[in-house]
């Protein structure tokens, strides 16, 4: 299997190892690692903010932080996690690293743009950090006008500029993926032979391209309005605050799918591989991915059911929201069916993937409740919503992120991670997560509001449980830093294909050479040709492995 890489002794990691060679690299693999470093940094920044929020909520009177500081903390948590971790997390790291490898290309179409994207991302990150150090923002990540434009007492402009610039990075990366997947596929890599991860990244890139500019314009208007004192959303000029919400959610609802679609792609790689059987209903899965991406644009006003939109439009958007649940349901059932008659092994990536399916299902079902209008009227802006989207974002996306990280770790670094530690961590993540967020469903229905620094004393017990879970979760998220770091130095060397997987990325050596493949591979068969009966598989270049 290493035939394609036999005459390439050096890897992308060892090729040339000066600081300049990393900072000026055009190699998508190195840029992926640069992104990995950046998003990990922001993950912990957002995590620290979350820790403060949970610690503060241990006490119903809210004594740890001053109200203004608490408001800044949850805003910091939201802004950082949404734009600086979740959205770039899987696409900019695993997407960057594996899209060219999976389609048999030597690099992305525009390597310089790719590098520029990382620099722009960090520039926006600097603006964000500046905003935090200069006093923070207290608007919540949604920047609702007219609060953000006329009344907020934080650095709204700084945060808006950060997110605006961040959008450029998103667009650059997404544009690169779309063009690469269209133009750079290896011979024989037809659309229906693409791994589902590539499909997911393609769909998510389209969503990014079409949604991000609207956010950019919206935040530009908010920034200008705040800067100039007059503007488009100012009610005293006859401006409509709901217009802001329409434009914001036109981006931000698809953004939810920007976060979850790549995770679905990762799960679709992991589950067949560790079940040793082809993914159930490949075609249906591709349709579901595209369906989710398209319908995700038609549902945005379900964030506005109590905001004052017309009853008729609320009904239309509710219906659309039920429609978007259909392809999601298809995916859940297909993943489950993939397990049927498989030969399932429970390595850490599979544990994360199964956790992903379970938690995503809980998130999806509570999403149905939120799509039902009267229930949304009651639980809107309560912890029920918080719990719901954390089940999707954290239970779903972050689990898949860690699953993918473990799955591809040998390919990225050339080292195996310690399996036992990883399994314990995966289980710990699942337990800690549920303990953190399940109580929030109950709190939400009881009427505990989000963004409250103080709450009625009778809700305290649930909040204590939630905070206890959060500390377990914090440990589970910090552990990989140590054992993965350990494996970098002392981990066992990985073979080219330690998981016996079918994708093209496993044909080349671990870690891959700078050019990815010595010669461009030719694709002969669809992905996921696993056979559970005798454990054999056929990799995508058509070679059968016993």
């Amino acid at each position: 299997m290493s035939a394609l890489a036999a005459d390439l002794p050096t890897s992308y990691l060892t090729e040339e190892n000066t600081i300049a060679s990393w900072l000026l690299t055009r190699d998508h693999k190195r840029i992926a690692l640069l992104f990995f470093a950046s998003v990990t940094f922001f993950f912990f920044i957002g995590g620290i903010a979350a820790t403060f929020v949970r610690l503060h909520l241990l006490n119903p009177a809210g004594v740890l932080l001053q109200p203004d500081m608490y408001n800044r903390m949850f805003t910091m948590h939201g802004v950082t996690m949404v734009w600086f971790f979740l959205i770039p997390s899987i696409p900019a790291t695993f997407g960057n690293f594996f899209i060219p490898l999976m389609i048999g290309a030597h690099d992305l179409a525009f390597p310089r743009l790719n590098l520029a994207s990382w620099y722009v991302f960090n520039l926006s990150g600097l603006f964000l950090l500046y905003t935090y150090f200069a006093g923070g923002v207290d608007t919540g990540w949604t920047f609702y006008a007219p609060y953000s434009t006329l009344y907020a007492n934080g650095h709204v402009i700084g945060a808006a500029v950060a997110v605006f610039i961040n959008g450029f990075s998103t667009i650059m990366t997404a544009l690169n993926f779309v063009v690469t997947i269209h133009r750079m596929r290896a011979p024989g890599m037809t659309w229906m032979r693409l791994p589902l991860f590539v499909w997911a990244i393609y769909a998510v890139s389209l969503v990014m391209l079409l949604a991000t500019p609207v956010l950019a314009m919206t935040l530009a208007l908010v920034g200008l309005e705040r800067f100039m004192g007059v503007g488009i959303f100012d009610p005293s000029l006859g401006g409509d605050p709901l217009l802001y919400q329409h434009m914001f959610w036109f981006y931000s609802h698809p953004a939810v799918y920007i976060m979850i679609l790549p995770a679905m792609g990762v799960a679709s790689e992991l589950i067949p591989c560790f079940s040793r059987r082809p993914v159930f209903g490949y075609t249906g899965m591709t349709f579901a991915i595209i369906g989710i991406a398209v319908i995700s644009f038609f549902v945005w006003a379900h964030h506005m059911f109590v905001a004052g939109i017309s009853v008729f439009s609320a009904i239309v958007f509710s219906l659309m929201t039920f429609f978007v649940a259909v392809p999601s349901a298809i995916k859940v059932f297909n993943w489950t069916a993939t397990l049927h008659k498989g030969r399932i092994s429970f390595d850490a990536p599979m544990l994360y993937a199964l956790g992903f399916v379970g938690l995503f299902t809980v998130g999806g079902l509570t999403g149905l409740m939120l799509a039902t209008l009267p229930i949304d009227v009651h639980v809107h802006d309560t912890y029920f919503v918080i719990a719901h989207f954390h089940y999707i974002m954290v239970g779903g996306t972050v689990s898949a992120f860690f699953g993918g990280l473990h799955y591809w770790w040998p390919k990225i670094t050339g080292r195996l991670y310690p399996e036992m530690w990883a399994r314990v961590t995966a289980v710990l993540t699942f337990l800690g997560f549920n303990l953190t967020f399940f109580p929030q469903f109950i709190l939400g229905y009881l009427g505990m509001m989000r963004r409250y620094y103080a709450y009625p004393a009778k809700f305290q017990d649930w909040n204590v449980l939630s905070s206890a879970g959060a500390s377990i979760l914090a440990i589970a998220y910090a552990l990989p830093l140590f054992y993965l770091g350990w494996s970098l130095l002392w981990g066992q060397r990985a073979s080219a294909n330690p998981w016996r997987a079918t994708g093209l990325e496993w044909l080349t050596s671990s870690p891959p050479p700078k050019e990815n493949f010595a010669r461009t591979p030719t694709v002969k068969v669809p992905p996921y040709r696993y056979d559970p009966e005798d454990d054999s598989f056929i990799s995508q270049d058509g070679v059968a492995h016993a």
Partner: protein, 319 residues
């Protein structure tokens, strides 16, 4: 449910709307449990039966997938549509205020308090006295940012926006004190923009109204403003300025200069006072009304509206 229970699971149920929302929620909760049980059950069962090393038969796998997929696509779609219809139906009922509520209360949100005005002119801050078993319609607006009026025990919530009027309604069915919360983040003291609905028996409510020491109803206070702010200078029968008479105008349809027709409701009257312009001005009159934007508070506007409404309920009355 008592306050002392160890872990609370259910909020108080204190209005007609709460009953209907709860019913829907319990229905969906049960359905979710079934679906969740199905998915988790299958995952666990497959994981055990087809674990690596088990001797289970793996031949004859399901090859033809389409009828399975179409099956669960159609199945979930059908279930979802049922939920949608149920929900949409209840929402229309929930968000359509009754035409003739027993009581209409004006609510003004501002950082960080709720101001309530009763028709008799009684004012409250962060407290709302209501009689039990009466339909109540709230007409709400904000003086600054977006707030959201939420009574968990009633399961009703609606955003309160600056620059426009929003309505909501409910019928309290239990007496007691229930929390009002602001649900839309509105600044530093957002968490303290809370209050209480005090639902009392009709007699207690009537008693409460009389102890507030108010001598003029909202409409009467509005009439005083109508004169003080100079509205009567143009809008009275013997004025030299050619301006529309306001007697009986509330609830009627007027034709505007822009060619549109509009029902005279609270929003329209508010726009007339604050915005001006041809999309507001009634056809056949010169567009001379000045804008009162910035010169008049939200509370004053509500009093003026209350006064103009009162001109419609007493036929023949002329300003």
């Amino acid at each position: 449910m008592s306050e002392e229970q160890w872990l609370p699971f259910w909020p108080p149920v204190a209005s007609n709307t709460a009953v209907s929302v709860d019913r829907l929620f319990i229905g969906e909760f049960a359905l979710s449990i079934v679906i969740l049980g199905l998915v988790f059950g299958m995952i666990i069962a497959f994981s055990i039966r087809y674990r690596r090393g088990s001797a289970a038969d793996r031949g004859n796998r399901v090859k033809k997938t389409w009828h399975w997929e179409i099956g669960w696509t159609v199945g979930s779609l059908a279930v979802f549509l049922c939920l949608f219809v149920w929900g949409a139906n209840a929402y229309v009922w929930l968000f359509e205020p009754p035409r003739h509520p027993d009581l209409e209360i004006y609510v003004i949100g501002k950082q960080w308090m709720w101001k309530m005005e009763h028709p008799g002119g009684q004012r409250e801050i962060d407290e709302l006295h209501l009689p039990v078993d009466k339909t109540v319609r709230l007409l709400m607006t904000s003086e600054d940012v977006i707030h959201s009026f939420f009574v968990p025990a009633f399961r009703v919530k609606h955003d309160v926006l600056p620059g426009q009027y929003e309505t909501m309604w409910f019928k309290p069915t239990e007496t007691g004190r229930f929390r009002i919360q602001c649900a839309q983040f509105c600044g530093t003291q957002h968490a303290h923009m809370i209050g209480d609905v005090v639902v009392e028996s009709e007699a207690e409510y009537a008693q409460w109204l009389t102890t507030q020491g108010v001598h003029a109803s909202l409409a009467q206070q509005g009439e005083a403003l109508f004169r003080a702010d100079g509205c009567s200078g143009c809008h009275s029968a013997n004025s030299t300025v050619h301006a529309p008479s306001l007697a009986g105008i509330y609830g009627r349809v007027v034709h505007l200069q822009s060619g549109e027709a509009r029902i005279v409701d609270e929003t329209y009257l508010r726009d007339c006072i604050l915005l001006g312009g041809a999309h507001i001005d009634v056809a056949g009159y010169p567009p001379v009304m000045p804008s009162f934007a910035g010169k008049i508070s939200e509370g004053d506007i509500l009093e003026l509206i209350s006064y103009i409404q009162s001109l419609s309920s007493q036929p023949g009355g002329s300003p």
